[in-house]
Amino acid sequence: MPQTIASPGFEIRRDGERAVIALAGEWTLDHGRRLERLAEQMPISLGEVRRAVLDIGEIQRLDTLGARVIDQLSHELGSEGVRVEVTHARREHATLLDAVRTRTAVVDRPPRSRLIDMLADIGRTVVLAWHDLVRGVSFIGEVVVAIGRALIRPQRFRWASLINQLEQIAFRGAPIIILITFLVGCIVAQQGIFQLRRFGATAFVVDLVGIITLRELALLLCAIMIAGRSGSAFTAEIGSMKMREEIDALRVMGLNPVDVLVVPRILALIIAMPILTFLGSMAGLFGAGLTAWLYGGIAPETFVSRLQSVITYKHFSVGLIKAPFMAIVIGAIACIEGLEVKGSAESLGQQVTASVVKAIFMVIVVDGLFAMFFASIRF
């Protein structure tokens, strides 16, 4: 606007016990803190008076902030026993002053002890962890029932959704999983050869890589990758549906969200995990073979024949047996967290993070349990 901006100010004319405070300039948001400071100064420079007249006739512009500051000022003076009067207000300024004349007490929360807060936090975390576990188990139960329902009545099962999920998880996820397991196979083989060379036992790298890849590595890498890739997607998809009341819409249509959203996803994971683990194992072994050949000088024929003699069906099957269980763990955690999303974008973010972190943690815990189990049955 072409007009010059007149900064806000006031002038005090004293007249015995009465003081006339002439306000001028723009009392608007643009002047922010200056206005607040003016309002603080005014009672001080006013000193002892009985009556104060706020003459606002010369104010050029007034908005809610200006009006609020004037209102607070007269309230403050009033509470010190000064009789305050506002004069020469233009009609529109008077309306605005009326509109802001409310005393909304901004409530301060009572201070709380840090120690108590911390203890309460710890307690809450423990209780929540327990609830998580109980909920997880009951949710898996619910999913099993839903899968049972699907088996009894396959015509009502959501095949399209299953195929779609399979494409997302297995087909689109395969390249990155193959690449990662391949690279880790290379690295493990290189380290193995490097360390074993000192003992002149380079050939044992085949045993090392073969067993660790088939039993643990391929599966763990695959599970971690899937938790980050598909688990987070499940949580975000279900969570944003929850946010926009789409889950409620399903419920009132008589559709069970577990049937519609959860079962196809978890089934897809159960099918995809073994496939991806198998692909990962092969890629890892391939990477290891390549490294052994190029770096360790172990010819591919030697590598393969040694692999044949070391690796039994047992080692191969351990990874594949564990895969569906990891799928259930990842899928269940992702879906539970998705259904836990509250109304806000922030809670969606928290839940997605929680989904990935919990899934990776539980995958490792379950893997440890399997290791103990297989060791005790000497499998």
Binding site: L29, G32, D63, T64, L65, E92, V106
Partner: protein, 260 residues
Amino acid sequence: MPDRTPPSAGPIIAVRDLVVGFGEKIILDGLSLDVMPGEILGFVGGSGTGKSVLTRTILGLIEKRAGRISVFGQDLDTMPEAERRKLEKRWGVMFQHGALFSSLTVAQNIQVPMREYLDLSPAMMSDLAALKIQMVGLKSDAGEKYPSELSGGMIKRAALARALALDPEIVFLDEPTSGLDPIGAAEFDSLIRTLQQTLGLTVFMVTHDLDSLASACDRIAALADRKVVAVGTLAEMVASPHPWVKSYFRGERALARLKG
């Protein structure tokens, strides 16, 4: 408000020969519209005719294909970036679905633009936020609530409070009363009227609501066939020969409303 906008000023928003489309589909074609300072302009049109698209184009959220838009007498295309930022302080927007930030409370939502643009103490900011909450007719405890804890009507009011956070000169309201019960809608209309008078606002209001048009709006513009086909007071709209305007303002509901 006389002290906000020069009295002799022309339209506060002027849209000329606007063309907007998505891909092959042209939504607005040769649309022209003036909004005068200090008025409440009601903008009507069938569902999906492009009312929100026009609003979003004026706000710069949708790219236009042709035409000129000027606000406060300045052409938006030729305006330097710094001017543009200043302009954004001078308008407030209430989106059709509220668009409140879901991870912030109502009071924090209102303080978002304040923090961005103003130099104010935190105490004054929360005081002003509380004031705005009260001005739009919400109870003061609503400030502490998150958007997911509000009813539809409360969301509209909170969104209006946020639109008013910086005491803007123009307020855009996209279907402020849709989804409210008739009593709530009537309250909202009179709220907008009161606020317009107290704060000296210019209001651009997209609406379907005949009651709003009759009770809150100074002038009405009707959108049909991709352009504004009629502008004027309610009486002028009723007299319009355009078929859509005719059926809208002379339908049974409309007639009942006008008689009543």
